[in-house]
Symmetry: C3
């Protein structure tokens, strides 16, 4: 497992810390089981009481949490920052068994890297490229001219349509479909490009396009069953939670966070570091660093005020009744 | 097909009945086609008029429905209770052709039960266990050390990651992914445990975890395209409808019902027999037997009152206008 | 690529046009890159400014857009109409390599059409039918007695359960699951019928049923990760956007449009040409040609007014305060 100083870790996570940045972090664990040398997190308020008895060497906490614990990484979403840390510590734990199983069908024109592992019943079509040390699990399909980078893991039944590209160190879980498209890609244009260090959950679908490719930036983490539309650009280090549906030709800046089951309408732009709350529908552009929520999505403070206003209604109805009564008293 | 007395059936369904519990139920059918010896249901109010001409021997109806028909099973969700009954009557209709197709790759260390059926292009990795009479359809992947119980059906392209466990009589439809995880499981800890009699729809994803396993209780029924987070505990006999997204470390008690496209936030606890309405976002714990709805989810009666309050607004605006007019009249 | 006159194209799209219907359309392109002979579209208001400099021979615009450009196709949803046009122009671009790969398992009883392509590791079970010129990608599963029409494309890992039918010229993207069901189909009743010219996105699930089949009408276009319930009827030329969940026994009339992540409750009927906005929950029937939105879904104008009413609340609260102050002044 890799080692990082706290400062190195924070640079990778894109979050600030308080306390000694030089300490060594050697692993991640939950708050109850964390030991010296490990980092843990507090996302749910009910775990704040456990901070004084926690043995972790560092904690990821909410940016506004009042705590004396040091060192801390401060994040607007401690849970997601923790899952990113989890990924950083574990992504290199790959077994490399090597070799191509005889039941595979790899076209003779395919360019194969060193120390690759291709398990049974994998198909790699004409003109594709498989980088060094990459692992293809059973039933993976790599279409004509597709390019798979170095140190990539494709879990069972991942399908890479013709011409798509997967960057180095990327991990695609079982059943991901990259580049569904009915139009043959033009010579030089890949329908989908995943940059390096991308992680996709199971059964994710990223649609392809022949005019302008769908691009997923470096270090992006996408959860299970997400759909990304054709021609969409997802900036580096974005986090997209389970079952989000992003339309065609959307643009997400760097480090955007999209919570579960959000819909982003076609053509929308979301600025860097913006956050969108669970189940929102994003119908218009969102500025950088904004926190949005609702249907349609609006500034979080506005949406919260709107919900508070709705909650005040019973009181208001009483007041109006009271005023009416008062008024008729006055008259009589 | 199995036979049950009405009373036996109600015990399995966990719902009360009125009338003669000793009658034999031999099958399920829709209200128009049900015959003697079969059970049917009325979920939609527009079918209530068909009750007097229905030939079924028993009906599943809403717990508050005013009807003289007997016997009836009373349920807070007749449609879901019906689908559970459907499952009870049909789950044993399995063909057992037997044998392992020569195109499969089953590691010599795998422990194989009796009368199993392993269809073409299945992969079973080192140290895995396949129980008696289980059926693995084409393209199934069973990872290292995974344990598949007796009488299990795994439909095409199901992927069971290393170390996960699937209980007896469970049915996993095509494209289910059990245990996507990047961390090798510790020796004794399975990333995901499905208990007996679990049924999963197609393309369901259940995430795994190395510290505390994701556990799906006995008799749980999960619909198509659902995602369950890592470390989550789903109690026995829960029903989870299509495209629900449950976060990590969630706890669902026994017989919880979650309607379509609900989001449950990480770390939340939902008490036994609670029900959550379609498209809710559950952000806080829900007590046992409660019925919740909304974004964020709140008691159903509260959410309904809230919606009623919003519907009253135009009238209220008129009233306020009226009061203002009245007031200026009074002054002048 | 095919050619159409504008009038022919509009008949296929089911939308009216203004201007010269006799011009030849030979392709589709985005507004910036469209050339003479091509059709483009304007969905987002920010692209309206590009209309005067657009070189396309025709444009798809919103039905209420004020523009002098001619000819135009007028649509209530220009983007979806464009994607339909895209499909019409590109669906015939199929390569036909011919033949059955020796690694496939095709039962000797299967009825095979002419010029078919069956790629490695495909399974076709007893009594199935594969029509002329159809293409089955690696890892496809076609169950017992299933019928695949002519000119069909089944992308990698599509699973067709026993007895289901797929119409001519249909395209099913990777990981689609047709007919998950636990009950063996009755002799003459297919669990799912897809009519001709259906297109399904990746990882779509269409549930099956033994009593009354699930039917998808001619020319229906379904986006990625959608779920369709058992016994549901989807009328011809409907468009269903990503991650929609349609319950069991739902009826959709002709040319219905359902936007992203909508839930349609079991048993509901939606009339022809109706439109449902993103993330709605449809709990009751919707009349033909209506535009509905919200949770629960209601007429779009009503839902908009409701949202406008909520937005007016802060002002109303101020007014009430003001009235109260005024009233106490009056009294004193």
């Amino acid at each position: 497992m890799p080692k990082f100083t706290l400062q190195e870790l924070c640079e990778k996570l894109g979050e600030p810390f308080e306390g000694d940045g030089s300490i060594q972090i050697m692993g991640v664990a939950e708050i109850d089981s964390a030991k010296e040398g490990e980092i843990s997190f507090v996302a749910n308020p009910k775990y704040v009481a456990k901070i004084p008895i926690c043995r972790a060497s560092a904690l990821i906490v909410h940016k506004d949490l009042d705590t004396d614990f040091r060192p801390v990484i401060r994040s607007s979403n401690p849970y997601l920052t923790f899952t990113q840390a989890l990924y950083l510590f574990h992504k290199d734990q790959r077994k490399l068994s090597g070799g191509i199983h005889p039941s595979c069908h790899v076209d003779p024109s395919v360019q194969l890297g060193e120390d690759i592992t291709i398990m049974p019943h994998v198909i790699v079509e004409r003109g594709a490229v498989i980088g060094d040390r990459s692992i293809l699990y059973p039933g993976v399909f790599v279409g004509e001219g597709a390019v798979i980078g170095n140190d990539v893991t494709l879990y069972p039944n991942v399908s890479i349509y013709a011409g798509c590209r997967v960057g180095d160190q990327s991990i695609l879980h079982a059943g991901c479909r990259i580049g569904p498209i009915n139009i043959q890609p033009a010579a030089e244009k890949p329908p989908v490009v995943l940059n390096d260090d991308v992680e996709l959950g199971a059964n994710v679908v990223i649609s392809g396009q022949s005019e302008s490719p769908t691009v997923i930036g470096q270090g992006v983490k996408i959860d299970n069953l997400v759909q990304i539309g054709a021609g969409t650009q997802v900036g580096p280090h974005c986090i997209i939670v389970a079952q989000v549906a992003i339309g065609d030709h959307v643009t997400l800046g760097e480090r955007v966070t999209i919570a579960g089951q959000v819909v982003v309408s076609p053509g929308v732009t979301i600025g860097e570091k913006a956050q969108v709350g669970a189940k929102s529908v994003v119908m218009d552009d969102i500025p950088p660093c904004a926190v949005f929520w609702g249907v349609p999505a609006q500034a979080f403070s506005k949406e919260k005020r709107l919900k508070a206003n709705i909650a005040r209604l019973p009181k208001m109805f009483d007041k109006i009744q009271h005023i009416e009564d008062h008024l008729s008293e006055l008259e009589s």
